[in-house]
């Protein structure tokens, strides 16, 4: 049994780490989506966190927590800088602006000498341990659970539901939008920092358009009715490619199809499944 576990861990430890960092990324987009903002810049923020923390580890050999915090803070600062102009946009325009921002950041990584260009950074010391991730995720669940029943949580709900009414209720909408945008950036930056310290390398490819879309897919698949939705979505979308390994190059089709079917037939994500079943059951009960 112990041997089996050891062998399992040997093969799948990266996957387990990914489950956690993807969950953090999913929560990073949830906090903005829950406020009604479709920001798809979180892959870029994760990249900023990954590069910053990896460089601090490699060049200065600073303690891991310091590197992580610096990566997260760097992402937060960039978020703060672009938040004010970008958050005046709404809906698809915000989505496109953050998408463009993400591409700009990717091209910057690609062209800077310090980030290693297209090759990225290699040989980052592995410092992420499972308990770090468990701890962070537990803390996040605690945070989101408290948020749900707090004044801050209600305020964000109000902005999502009706921005104009929220303003008339005395809510400083600009402030709160920037707050969640920066928080999302910091979370993504943290996930990026963890990621860099167990995959040994970072490259611009990992933080481009594709990953940005993946993060959005986590939240959409699970549903944003509660913070459990994005966690569920990220778990499924992280495991799915592993489970579908036998499909080789075709396996992306399943991911695409799942995302597509969910958005068309389950607009509130997988979280809605129990409700849908209950409704179907009731309809069946009284013909």
């Amino acid at each position: 049994m112990v041997e089996w576990l050891a062998a399992f861990w040997q093969t799948y430890n990266t996957l387990v780490y990914l489950l956690f960092t993807h969950a953090i990324l999913a929560l990073s987009i949830y906090i903005t989506l829950n406020t009604g903002l479709l920001s798809v810049g979180n892959a870029a923020f994760a990249g900023i966190g990954a590069y910053t923390s990896a460089l601090l580890t490699m060049k200065l050999d600073l303690p891991f927590p310091v590197c992580l915090a610096a990566g997260s803070a760097a992402a937060g600062l960039v978020g703060l800088a672009i938040g004010l102009p970008v958050l005046r946009l709404s809906g698809v325009y915000l989505a496109l602006a953050t998408l463009a921002f993400g591409e700009v950041i990717r091209v910057v990584f690609l062209n800077l000498e310090v980030t290693g260009g297209a090759m990225g950074l290699n040989g980052i010391p592995p410092k992420t341990e499972l308990w770090h991730l468990v701890l962070v995720c537990a803390a996040l669940i605690y945070f989101f659970e408290r948020l749900r029943r707090s004044r801050l949580g209600r305020t964000l709900d109000a902005i999502r539901e009706d921005e104009v009414a929220a303003r008339v209720m005395g809510i400083d909408v600009v402030y709160y939008k920037n707050l969640v945008f920066v928080l999302g950036a910091m979370l993504a930056g943290l996930a990026g920092g963890f990621n860099a310290h167990f995959t040994f390398f970072v490259s611009p490819r990992e933080y481009g358009f594709g990953p940005a879309v993946d993060i959005l897919a986590f939240a959409v698949l699970g549903g944003t009715g509660s913070y459990w939705g994005p966690i569920l979505g990220s778990t499924i979308l992280t495991l799915l490619p592993e489970l579908l390994r036998f499909l080789a190059d075709f396996r992306g089709m399943v991911t695409g199809l799942v995302l597509f079917l969910v958005i068309v037939y389950l607009p509130n994500g997988l979280l809605e499944v129990p409700d849908v079943l209950r409704r179907a059951w009731r309809r069946g009960a009284k013909p």
Partner: protein
């Protein structure tokens, strides 16, 4: 030298413009950001490649087949994904995300069918000839690309502005409800728009495949990102803006490669996009939309 760069820029820009035209038309009529437009272009390029290599057709026949195939693909996407969302009156972000799913699906499908490597059209498909046009030296390929792109754009503008169908399309873009009251079959217009935009995407894909002589399952993403840039430059939903924006982006890219650095090409394009969104979200040529009360 500068004249030559301008010619290259216009050739590249006309392809961007063609692609962006399809993208902007979907937005104008359906108010949907169709992110699968890049994947449609990619499949268009592959359709042409298959026609040329497997069926042994010439490039023009291949192009026609590709356009037809892409139009059908566009219609399929509309029927399967966008129509049900319309029927449900889903918020605008839903179709955008659905088309992301379709893009992932199609990219993977292409990867499985054609492999992940870069494929190329056979050499000499378009005869390699160089013409002197005034101060410009242009290849026959460039002429073909500009001619096809310009021809299709003119055809589309004529369709939109000079035919009853075009009037109906513009009416639906303005207000689907009012159009329905006037007796226009709105769903049919949506279907036609999907076919037309699919065709434009497919044509753009073939031309891009030709101009870079590289076709791969992953070519859709950069095309899409360029298309988004162009559409935002020109103002969302504005066909003329898309054309001007496309040529503008082509020129900016070619000139920045020539005079600055090839590494900066994308940085400039996306930097421009970001800046425009922040400073002038209505696009360079658009008017600010009237505020809703």
């Amino acid at each position: 030298m500068l004249a030559q760069q301008l010619a290259n820029g216009i050739a590249l820009g006309s392809v961007y413009a063609l692609f962006a035209l399809g993208f902007t038309l979907v937005f104008g009529v359906l108010e949907v950001i169709n992110l699968s437009q890049g994947a449609i272009a990619m499949f268009g390029a592959f359709f042409a490649l298959v026609a040329v290599t497997a069926l042994g057709t010439g490039i023009y026949t291949a192009m026609a087949l590709a356009v037809l195939g892409a139009a059908i693909l566009g219609v399929l996407i509309d029927r399967l994904a966008l129509a049900p969302l319309r029927a449900r009156k889903a918020p605008h972000l839903a179709p955008m995300i659905a088309t992301i799913g379709i893009t992932i699906f199609l990219t993977s499908l292409a990867q499985g069918l054609f492999g992940a490597q870069v494929s190329r059209f056979p050499i000499g498909l378009v005869p390699i000839r160089i013409f002197e046009v005034g101060p410009f030296q242009v290849t026959q390929l460039q002429l073909v690309i500009v001619a096809i792109a310009a021809g299709l754009m003119v055809a589309l503008l004529l369709l939109l502005n000079r035919t009853r169908l075009g009037t109906a399309i513009r009416a639906v873009a303005e207000s689907p409800r009012a159009a329905a009251l006037l007796g226009i079959d709105v769903e049919r217009i949506y279907l036609l728009t999907a076919a037309v935009t699919g065709a434009l995407g497919g044509a753009a894909g073939v031309l891009i495949g030709l101009s870079f002589n590289a076709i791969s399952p992953f070519m859709g993403e950069p095309i899409l990102l360029k298309g988004i840039t162009v559409v935002i430059l020109g103002g969302m939903g504005d066909p003329k803006g898309a054309m001007v924006g496309g040529v503008l982006l082509g020129l900016v890219e070619v000139l920045s490669v020539a005079y600055l650095s090839s590494d900066l090409r994308d940085a400039i394009a996306f930097g421009l996009l970001f800046l425009i969104l922040v400073v002038r979200p209505q696009g360079l040529f658009g008017r600010r939309q009237a505020r809703k009360a």
